[in-house]
Amino acid sequence: MKIFLKQSRLYCLVALSTFCLAKTINISPSQDPYTEIQEALILASPGDIIHLSAGLYELEDSLSIDVNNIILEGDGINSTVLSFQNQLSGAQGLSVTSDNVILRDFAVENAKGDAIKVKGVDGISFIRIRTEWTNGPSSENGAYGLYPVESKNVLIDSCVAIGASDAGIYVGQSENIIVKNSIAEFNVAGIEIENSYYADVFNNYASNNTGGILVFDLPDIPQQGGHHIRVFNNKSVNNNTDNFAPEGNIVGEVPRGSGIIIQANSHVEIFNNDIGDNDTINIAVVTYGYDTEDENYYPHPRSIQIHGNRFGRSGYNPDLETGELAKILFELSDGNMPDIFWDGILPLPQIIFGQPKEDKIILGDNGDASFLTINALKYILPFFDPVETNYEKFSGEITPLPPVALSETL
């Protein structure tokens, strides 16, 4: 007994684990996988690992985690599959409401609603997780694949998100976010950062979505005024899947063939990305397009910096059917669609007296990228051509945003 205790102490020392009694619970596919997995998730103690062996787990009810500091893991992104094909209850495949949970090496397929929703936590890691609707793009698919919301210290690393009818990877109303090394395909929005603060989105591959990467901010919800978002070293190419979002959802407005769209938000830096082969537009910077009575909401993008990106072709087959963006741009440009578009919409005093210097959009070196914006004052006045395509007028010195650092407790 003494020896055993000594050994376990040694083990704890070696593992540098705060949770010396941490255990691993192994689960294999069985007759009633729901009860087995859900009981393990409820009875787990902080530090425990719940391990799902390779195989197909067919679940009729949604799973949930509400214990801090546990790990739910499988044997691989294609080996351990939680299938919700025959789901009868629950609005998600898996939901997480506790802090510092790690999800790794498994897949969630064909959830009736969202695949994995994480709400109101501090610390969540998705590592090598796949969320997929396996029948391809369809408005019958669930809204979000990876869906952390109202959370802090969010890490999404080496994940795959396919087929979501809203966004494959969606981070909403959160703070301190890293989305990296991930693949988003055949979603309406590949990766979407919405109403969030401090996000780094890098080394991702967004392809065959309707829009590759979106940075949005919406009114009338608890957290708004998204800011400090860096989007860099990503590939956002060939996002030419027709918009299949059910109407009513904001991404339903995104035209097919959008590389990156910034809507509202402040302090956004888009750099070193490869963006091309997008039917409508490579980068668009736009104002929130609806009336709102929300007094705390600022609908215009501010302090947007775009530099060092490499552009392939775009605008050669614009989607004039979806939303207003492509239609307006097509008319303004006479069909000569730019790589980068800013709608130029400002609050009235700024239209007249000019925009504060620190709010201005700044274009750095983007090779031979073309640019188009609208001069709002000329737009209001008669006899002026409001279209402005002079890139140099908007070029300036880049002030890099600081990188995101996740809390060390992860």
Binding site: Y34, T35, Q38, E39, L41, I42, L43, E60, D61, S62, S64, I65, D66, Q87, L88, S89, G90, A91, S95, T97, A111, K112, G113, D114, K119, G120, S139, E140, N141, G142, A143, Y144, Y147, V149, E150, S165, D166, Y170, G172, Q173, L218, D220, I221, P222, A245, P246, E247, G248, N249, I250, Y290, E293, D294
Partner: protein
């Protein structure tokens, strides 16, 4: 024969004991919840749900819909206990209090061929550190109920209000799912027993009385709580607006409230909410996905069939339906009520 007689005697002794059952206060406060419902001594007759001394039945003006299950509610407040009134919130029950709710299909109409089926009994136990939730699932024999962890699916039948037999896949929620509705700003809280929802008569062993008066008589709450009462949403003599808002409050307002599980949406359906956009009028959905059904707004005044809220109340698809859990059937009568309400907005 002798053995048989003594068995009967023992059985008698046990039932005699159970008649004088007392609530087991130490069990309520012990760190580990009891493994079976009978351990607490809340009932003189468990199967018939006859409460022990000190345990009072209560009822709500408007109740949460749970697949047409009948609900038998009881409250236990320890001796000398006092529950502080808080406007728009549930009473602040003293430590040691327990809210007891048995879900059942009573099937008690005279023409019913089905017998009473007790499904589960949920407890909210007020501890030092806050409320603790636990549910007990009834055994087939209906003699006791046992602690649930991952919940249970009970596929059964019940007799509805129109005398028809209806199938239902009743889900006993798991412990985490309880929190979905009962969590407000990170802590577990009861939903029903707010003064505004308790202000009605109930029949007690010693006669019928207003619940708030009864609770005051027990010394549990102060006198003269002035409130705007909710109404019974099904009472056609009440005003339509109040009925609809009462229904939305008790069925939706625990999640759709600032600090609740659904606050990410900005749609707030609690009784006290009065900002039109947050009540859903011409409010665009945030994360509804296909649950929007190609509709643009949560509520379009005057147009129930263009309102996402009504669509989601009618759906049985887990990816669309509201509430997200606790419902496998459509609440036909409530859909009708809210249709009328939206129509006249």
């Amino acid at each position: 024969m002798k053995l048989y007689n003594s068995l009967i005697l023992i059985a008698f002794a046990i039932s005699a004991l159970s008649i004088t059952a007392e609530v087991n206060h130490s069990k309520i406060l012990s760190e580990d919840v009891a493994l079976k419902l009978s351990d607490y001594g809340f009932f003189n007759n468990l199967t018939k749900q006859i409460p022990a001394d000190g345990v009072l039945p209560y009822d709500l003006n408007s109740a949460l819909f749970s697949d047409y299950a009948d609900k038998l509610r009881f409250v236990y407040v320890p001796e000398e206990g006092f529950a502080e009134y808080r406007p728009n919130k549930v009473f602040n029950f003293p430590v040691g209090s327990v809210l007891i709710k048995t879900f059942a299909y009573l099937n008690d109409s005279p023409e019913s061929d089905l017998s009473t089926q007790l499904l589960e009994t949920r407890l909210l136990i007020r501890r030092d550190e806050g409320w603790k939730n636990v549910s007990y699932i009834w055994n087939e024999e209906q003699t006791d109920a046992y602690k649930s962890i991952a919940g249970k699916t009970i596929s059964t039948q019940f007799v509805n209000d129109y005398g028809g037999v209806q199938d239902v896949r009743y889900r006993v929620p798991n412990i985490n799912q309880c929190k979905e509705c009962h969590q407000s700003n990170e802590t577990i809280t009861p939903i029903g027993p707010k003064a505004r929802n308790l202000n009605k008569d109930t029949s007690y062993a010693d006669g019928t009385m207003n619940q708030l008066l009864k609770w005051h008589q027990q010394g549990w709450i102060k006198e003269n709580i002035s409130i705007k009462s909710m109404v019974d949403w099904s009472d056609i003599n009440e005003n339509l607006e109040t009925r609809a808002r009462s229904y939305l409050d008790i069925n939706c307002g625990h999640c759709h409230i600032e600090g609740g599980s659904a606050d990410t949406t900005g749609l707030y359906l609690n009784y006290a909410e009065n900002r039109e956009v947050h009540l859903g009028y011409f409010k665009k959905p945030i994360a509804a996905g296909r649950a929007s059904n190609n509709l643009k707004y949560s509520i379009v005044p005057g147009k129930p069939d263009e309102s996402i809220l009504l669509y989601r109340m009618q759906s049985l698809d887990p990816g669309i339906m509201m509430p997200e859990s606790g419902r496998a059937l459509q609440h036909v009568e409530a859909v009708d009520l809210l249709r009328k309400w939206i129509h006249q907005l």
